[in-house]
Amino acid sequence: MGDRGRRALLAGLGAVLVAFPWVFVNPYPRDVMIRIFLYALLAQAWNLLGGYCGQVSLGSAVFFGIGAYTSSVLSLWWGVSPWIGMLAGMALAVLVSQAIGYPCFRLRGHYFAIATIGIGEIVQTVAINWDAIGGARGIWLPIKPETLVNFQFHRAKWAYYYVALALLAAVFGLTAFVERSRLGYYFRAIREDPDAAQSLGVPLTRYKLLAIAGSAAFTALGGTFYAQYVLFIDPESVFPTSLSILVCLVAVLGGVGTLWGPALGAAVLISLSETTRIWLGGTGKAVDLMIYGGLIVLVSVFQPGGLVGLVGRLGRRPGGPASPTPVVVPQGTG
């Protein structure tokens, strides 16, 4: 499929997504789509660090929560517009990401992954015990008039859909740009073989820090959106390790290190969990989760390159699929 064919497909997809809330007026499908957009955004953010750059992190929730809490606290205490709060949240997340990355990037593979889990748990526990920002009770965001500036919509909830879509498109666009740039090449070189990359002049730590900065910023973006959408946040909803794992799962199922993997993974996984929940979840018997878990196993066994591998025959991606991330890179001597 040539460039023009791909562009046509993209335009078609865009048209479908824009028209969606007008065709499906019922709030439920719209809300499912918003969740898909959010997870696709978070998974793409994870993909930047974990997929392209090969540093598998299980701590996305840290940045998600920072985004959510920063904008919410600023809005609650000083009436700061959530959009400014979003930028502030992104900035803080980037700072924290550097503080985490600088000492931890000397760790490889599993050691790094566990460190990120640990940091996530620490941050969540701190948030639970920090009463000034609500502690375990969380924060209820004050209801404000429904305007774009206030980033709240009550009767016109479809506006959330378009905001989420716009944010997702922005993140995807930026990621596509990075993929073709020096950053993209260096990230992938670091993932494939850090020693060879170094011998070609790639400064490892600097680029890993850039990757985690981008990942943190995008994730925090999602956090602010979530806070404004749900209008209630607490440590359990925005900082849990289970969220980090889910984000990673979405990216992996879709296809690690590919541009469309996160979107595909989110679409399939969220639809799957919604469907099983509706059809089988009500009994509280967890049958839906059994099927969910079983399907994850099946996909891992039969399509380990992720769902993008199935669709991949439609056209060559500029970056090529990763021989995805080895989590442990045993040290070899040169």
């Binding site: 073709r180 070189a189 073989d193 060879a196 170094q198 790639v202 001597t333 040169g334």
Partner: protein, 231 residues
Amino acid sequence: MTKRFGGLVANQGITFDVAPGEIVGVIGPNGAGKSTLFDVITGFYQPDGGDIRFAGETLTGLRPDQINRRGIGRTFQKLRPFNGMTVRENVTVGALARAVSTGAAHVEADRCLALVGLAGKAGAFARELSTGQRKRLEMARAMATRPRLLMLDEVTGGVDQRSIPDLVALISRLRDAGVTLIVIEHNMRVIMSVATRIVALHLGEKIADGPPADVVRDRRLVEAYLGAAYL
């Protein structure tokens, strides 16, 4: 320069100079410390004693990427292609060390691929290449960083006989392109035909250093490398 790993002395007091335009061959039996020497020079290990100087600057204490920026490129004995990337992308990574934009890097990458004779394989994934092709890919990749000194670790290892003359010609082409070369090699015929000087290592020490014709007649070297039966 001296390098120890615990109780094992991999490199003991090795000293030699390399002048611009030379092709220095480094030979020695397995375990002589050749690859360790390369690893120390390129910053993957820090020496326990001694110093590495390049163009008037000391390299000791620098990271591998910093050393590359100062003009030293290398290949690896155990090949390390970026498997998930195409041949062209592999070389582009190297080219980005000097290029201002990815566009310029692509141009440089194509130039280096043409130099090593892999232009036809630019779109293939690195993992699809044969051993000989991968060796040339590593050379192209390292050349793309525009080094002044290029260190080749095992050029002909694992390559079939027919391809060797091409590789030898390639080494000469690289030198003609203005690069000084240090080459680790086991194939004596290759070394004899390209090297301007030979440094021989044995058990971590330098046992010979001079023009090929002289070194090959050195008694200690022949005994160490080929065995006393050859004397």
